[in-house]
């Protein structure tokens, strides 16, 4: 088992995890099947363009779902995530053949030593622009 990070070792501003995720159109189809969200704007160019979008978009919930994974791996256990919230600010466009790279940086936003919890703030970008706002994960940690 991985070691659970200690709350005492954390300082606000520490970067605890960083990762890039390459989304292909296949990733979107896979997420559609796993989640049950079959809105065709997430896999059909003609439908996406028909409703005025620039192209096929990743599910916001896929972006939210992957963005927390670096924090899960750092904390060592998905059960340590107590609360997770995001605001969807910009879409992630996914081309039919090229991959879209979503980058995640996870930084300590708040340390609550007595409760042994920390708020980890995520910066999630695509093409140099943030796609999630107020992306915050509250995790329980070791003393």
């Amino acid at each position: 088992m991985s070691t659970v990070p200690s709350i005492a070792s954390l300082a606000v501003g520490d970067v605890v995890a960083q990762a890039d995720f390459a989304l292909s159109r296949d990733s979107l189809v896979r997420y559609a099947g796993a989640s049950g969200d079959f809105n065709p704007i997430h896999y059909r160019d003609d439908v996406a363009i028909g409703v005025g979008l620039p192209g096929v978009l990743a599910h916001g919930m896929l972006t939210m779902g992957l963005a927390v994974q670096p924090v899960v791996d750092w904390a060592g256990d998905p059960g340590r995530v107590l609360d997770y919230q995001v605001r969807f600010t910009r879409p992630v466009l996914v081309d039919a053949s090229a991959v879209a790279v979503v980058s995640v940086t996870a930084k300590v936003g708040l340390v609550e030593a007595e409760a042994r919890t920390a708020r980890i703030d995520l910066t999630v970008t695509f093409g140099g622009e943030t796609v999630l706002g107020k992306a915050q994960v509250r995790v329980s940690l070791a003393p």
């Binding site: 088992m1 995720f21 990733s27 896979r30 997420y31 099947g33 796993a34 989640s35 049950g36 969200d37 409703v51 916001g60 919930m61 896929l62 939210m64 779902g65 992957l66 927390v68 994974q69 899960v72 791996d73 060592g76 256990d77 998905p78 059960g79 995530v81 107590l82 609360d83 997770y84 919230q85 995001v86 605001r87 969807f88 107020k134 994960v137």
Partner: protein, 148 residues
């Protein structure tokens, strides 16, 4: 058609029980790039003190989905699903979801607000286990665009 402001405070009937399957958790985990063994391997999950594999933090959306279907189907809601943009999402856990859980969700419309021709509907789904104990609250804010 604007969203009906009288929706605010409305509580919907509980959804039918959803039995969380091990393979569903593994499938969902792969789809959100979760690679933690506790998400995928029952042995690793048991070693960490869980009865079976643990769902990723956003898996609750699968159970919440049934409540959003109820909301959109409400005859007097006035919510045109082609005009919905997902604004915010939050999951607040009392405990993680584990394979074998039987979960039921109850939707409350926490608020309906108007903002510059658009409506903002905050839908709060309280998800409980077979014993009725709170597992997670999933909250979505849906922005419903007004007529252009």
């Amino acid at each position: 058609m604007p969203v009906n402001p009288e929706l605010q405070g409305r509580v919907f009937p509980p959804t039918p029980p959803y039995l969380v399957g091990r393979e569903k958790i593994r499938e969902f985990s792969r789809a959100v790039f979760a690679s933690n063994p506790i998400n995928l391997d029952p042995e690793a999950a048991r070693a960490a003190g869980y009865a079976d594999v643990v769902a990723p933090p956003t898996f609750a959306v699968v159970i919440q989905e049934a409540t959003l279907v109820q909301l959109l189907a409400e005859p007097d809601a006035g919510i045109d699903f082609t005009r919905i943009v997902h604004g915010d999402q939050r999951f607040s856990y009392a405990r993680p979801i584990v394979a074998g859980d039987e979960l039921t969700a109850t939707l409350t419309v926490a608020s309906v607000k108007s903002l510059g021709g658009h409506s903002m509907v905050t839908a709060e789904s309280n998800i409980v286990d077979a014993a009725g104990a709170h597992v997670v609250t999933a909250t979505s804010t849906l922005v419903v665009r007004g007529d252009e």
